[in-house]
Amino acid sequence: MKPAQFEQHEPETVEEAVSLLESLDDRAVLSGGQSMVPMLRFRLAVPETIIDINRIESLDYLEEDDGWLTIGALARHADVEHSELIAEHYGSFADTAPLVADPQIRNRGTVAGAIAQADPKGDWGSVLLAHEGEVVAQGPDGERVIPADEFFLLPYDTTLDENELLTELRVPTPAPREGSAYHKLKRKVGDYAMAGSAARLVLDDEGRIEQAGIGLTAVDITNVRATDAEDHLEGERPSSELFKRAGELAAEQSNPESDEHGDVEYKERMVNVLTQRALGDAAERAGLVKQRVSQ
């Protein structure tokens, strides 16, 4: 099916894009398009105007900058997947990128676009939450920084303002003893998650958990943080017992729906297991040897 007719704009700067957002009424922003184009084709979205941001070269970056890993709005999933920086220092991002859809989709789809899409089954939201990341938006009045915690409202709905363009995602660069991971359960290659869990652990000099972040996929109306589990972890030494309890707490706090992939009980168990695995990997990557974790 073909999309309905629309007017098209291809701004080359962020300022141009923002002024288009401000001046046009019925419009949609197109970035990677891997969700947007099907929505247009099924006429779930019928905007009069499309603002295609793919020619704004200044948004195409993935780099560390002044204590942050910054991901420009045009960085594709494949850019993350193939980045050496990511492979070396950002375990959860390295885990997630190859699990998003399939190779063709990853070549076009953008990480920021996936966040803006705010599909509760999307993987990146959990990673952003676990890292206590931020969303940077550019609007008519300038830049606004939105903590990941305050970004997701409802499925496909965020606190991004009507006239704002999401320009960047960022997460703090890793502490000396930090590790992160993402585990996702899906029925087959390329699927959305049935459940997923992102974990990030920062250890202090004595090997205690100084900071814990856990983000869950596909088990609530948005990606959510498992705050009870995080609280339980902080101040403790990593151990399989500790992670087991954290898994239980994450499952208790999750709110999955029964569907063709499984009932509520099954999904809660999956949250438990996936969270334990993500925590195990995160702890290992934070510098502990695995044996010590499983004691």
């Binding site: 099916m1 073909k2 999309p3 309905a4 007719q5 629309f6 007017e7 098209q8 291809e10 398009g33 891997q34 184009v37 099907p38 247009l40 084709r41 499309i50 295609d52 793919n54 494949a78 190859p98 859809a101 399939d102 190779p103 063709q104 989709i105 070549n107 076009r108 290659v189 390329g190």
Partner: protein
């Protein structure tokens, strides 16, 4: 047809300038404006990968992108494969692999599979089975169960290695001769793929095959 825009696409090395509506999908531009129907539309929803083409060397689904977004890009479609140097004027080693290893039955997914296979071998000339399966994970095949597609790509990897070795050595000419003696005759007359129950099974009318030049349906 209001509101059209001129774009330039370089497809398989040839530059085309066409007028498209902003809403026109790249796959429709390729098939309908350029009359290159080798790129297939399968699911029409971005799932199946039959419409996969290479954009600036990377595999993308041409049903999930507007033609205007490819303005100024280099595209490659299945039609361009035989013009590549490694095809040596005949079938590309990947296409040959699909024929030799029976990597297709109905053939609908094949152009997309070839493009994903091409992108993989360009990056990684000696892939493991797992890497091949990952590379074609965005391409659905409802006939083969993928086993033979994996073998086809493995075949091509080996063949390409031989081509590279031959090109790097002093026996380019003889290498070329040997392979062209092996391969092309299959399509000249009656085509027998050598696999039982292929091409529609035991009831296949052999004359019909011959009449259509042995097109592998």
């Amino acid at each position: 047809m209001t509101n059209t825009r001129e774009i330039t696409l370089t497809v398989n090395g040839t530059e085309h300038t066409i007028d498209v509506e902003p809403r026109q999908l790249l796959v429709h531009a390729i098939r309908e404006e350029l009359d290159m129907t080798g790129t297939h539309i399968g699911c029409d929803t971005g799932n199946c990968g039959a419409c996969t083409v290479l954009k600036d060397g990377e595999p993308i689904k041409s049903c999930l992108m507007f033609a205007t977004q490819a303005d100024g890009s280099e595209l490659m479609t299945v039609e361009g494969m035989e013009d590549l140097p490694e095809a040596r004027g005949d079938l590309h080693p990947l296409q040959e692999g699909f024929r030799e290893e029976h990597g297709l039955q109905c053939g609908y997914c094949t152009p997309g599979m070839l493009m994903s296979g091409k992108a993989l071998l360009d990056e990684n000339p000696d892939p493991s089975e797992e890497e091949i399966r990952e590379a074609i994970s965005g391409n659905l095949c409802r006939c083969t169960g993928y086993q033979n597609i994996v073998r086809s790509i493995e075949y091509a990897a080996e063949e390409l290695e031989e081509v590279a070795a031959a090109d790097g050595g002093t026996t380019v000419a003889s290498g070329t001769d040997t392979s062209s003696a092996d391969a092309p005759s299959a399509f000249d007359s009656e085509f027998d793929c050598g696999v039982e129950n292929c091409c529609g099974g035991p009831t296949t009318d052999r004359n019909h095959d011959a009449d259509t030049g042995g097109e592998h349906k």
